[in-house]
Amino acid sequence: MKEFALFPGCLIPERVPSYEVSLRQTAEKLDVNFAEPEGEWTCCAPVGILSLDYLTSLSIGARNLAVVEEMGLDTMCTPCNGCFEGLDRIASILGKEPETLAKVNEILAEVDKEYKGTVQVRHLAEIYFDDVGVDKIKETMVKPLDALQVGIRPGCHLFRPIEVIGIDFSERYFFLDDLIEATGAESVYYQHRLRCCGGLLRNVSDDLTEGMLRERLMELKEAEVDCLVTVCPLCFLQFDLGQKLVERKYKEKYNIPTLTYSELLGLGMGMSADELGLATHRIKLDKVLAKIGVD
């Protein structure tokens, strides 16, 4: 398989390190080749920065894309929905607006960089589905996860905005179900599984973000799943840490364990909870691990 420039972002390294451990640990078995530049990445300048200044967001994003070109690669892979939305959008804008690209390159000239507009940005989940494929994932599974019933959360920016992603409608069939089923686990359909968790409103209005998250938690609880599986680090934080805050605020109990898809893969490949760094989760995974017989 070709080489991808891996852009982990900051939220995964700083807040969800087990996601990073698991994606690195599982990549080799899936023949996914990641290349990384020596210290050259910066922040992707995500939607919070775009909200304040469009040109700044474009320029910082484009600098990271220029690094991919310098590495001699044409595809960046990011496991973070925030980085994916930001950088995919920037690559898309700069790919079709030569005047904007010229303006951004004037800024980049100050740091001796130039972005030629050749990079494609892809989410890790897309690479699991399109490049690795369901069959290959099935081959690497040594630990049956058949006992698990999971609810998925792709996170909004894996499939929206549709204009940038290049699809007609975001609420149709979703490939994350196939990725789950490839591990043997069952993906349980439940109400509003594609609806926003409010993660990006954290610190802007905690009442609002927790009100939205609470609705999502209620729906998951009704679905009686063993755990939630997501590919978005912000969803992960909402459901792992934010869930505790909702429980305290509303005096309710949900206790829904959350895993990232890479962690689920690692478990299916027979890796231990320690190897995958799962002790960093706040909602205990004991019940899930017991159900699939992992220490």
Binding site: C10, P13, E14, R15, P17, E20, V21, G39, E40, W41, T42, C43, A45, P46, V47, G48, I49, L50, S51, L52, D53, Y54, L55, T56, S59, I60, R63, I93, E97, T100, I107, L108, E110, V111, K113, C156, H157, R160, P161, I162, E163, F169, S170, E171, R195, C196, G198, G199, L200, L201, R202, N203, V204, S205, L208, G211, M212, E215, G277, T280
Partner: protein, 184 residues
């Protein structure tokens, strides 16, 4: 309720003298806000909004409607534009293909230049400018990452990022604003 009547709160009428008729063109002339004027105010955006479901305070149609009407000051100085969760569901469902979320991002850009932005986003920008990342590294996580066999977040290119934010004028907007606030 003495007469058995239903209590209804009455809104102040909107007067045309308070409106800026060019506001909608100001937005429609930007790269992200270009389809704004295709809106026929059907309300599909508000109907599917996950924020609007849990609060009455935010409805995308209201923001778009006020913008088209020209309620410049109310839109830019108000809280509503900052309450969008940017999930893009409204854009997906809009029958007129209005880039609703992107219009809101454009409104935020203008509001920020006019001195309005939530503290959380300013703090995020400062973290990015000072450490290279919106989610800044901490000593405790550095230690944990080492235990997990992971490298620290890179900061080699921080100087590049700082040069870029100075070149775009963003640095002055973030820090200049603070100095002005301190003076008042």
């Amino acid at each position: 309720m003495s007469k058995g009547e239903i209590e209804v709160p009455i809104k102040e009428p909107i007067r045309s003298k308070d409106l800026d008729p060019n506001f909608k063109y100001e937005i429609a002339d930007t790269s992200l806000g270009k389809n704004l004027n295709a809106c026929f105010k059907c309300g599909a955006c508000s109907g599917g909004c996950p924020v609007g479901i849990v609060t009455e305070v935010y409805k995308p149609r209201e923001v778009i409607g006020k913008t088209i009407l020209g309620m410049r000051e109310e839109v830019l100085a108000g809280d509503q534009i900052w309450l969008c969760a940017t999930c893009y569901t409204c854009e997906d469902r809009c029958p007129q293909k209005v880039n609703i979320t992107d219009v809101i991002l454009t409104l935020r850009n203008i509001a920020f230049r006019e001195g309005h932005a939530p503290k959380a986003l300013i703090e995020q920008a400062k973290s990015m400018i000072e450490t290279g990342w919106v989610q800044h590294p901490t000593a405790s996580m550095d230690k944990r990452r080492e235990e997990l066999g992971l490298k620290r977040l890179p900061k080699k290119a921080l100087e590049d990022l700082q040069t870029i934010v100075k070149a775009t004028g963003f640095y002055d907007l973030i820090y200049g604003k603070e100095e002005k606030e301190e003076k008042t």
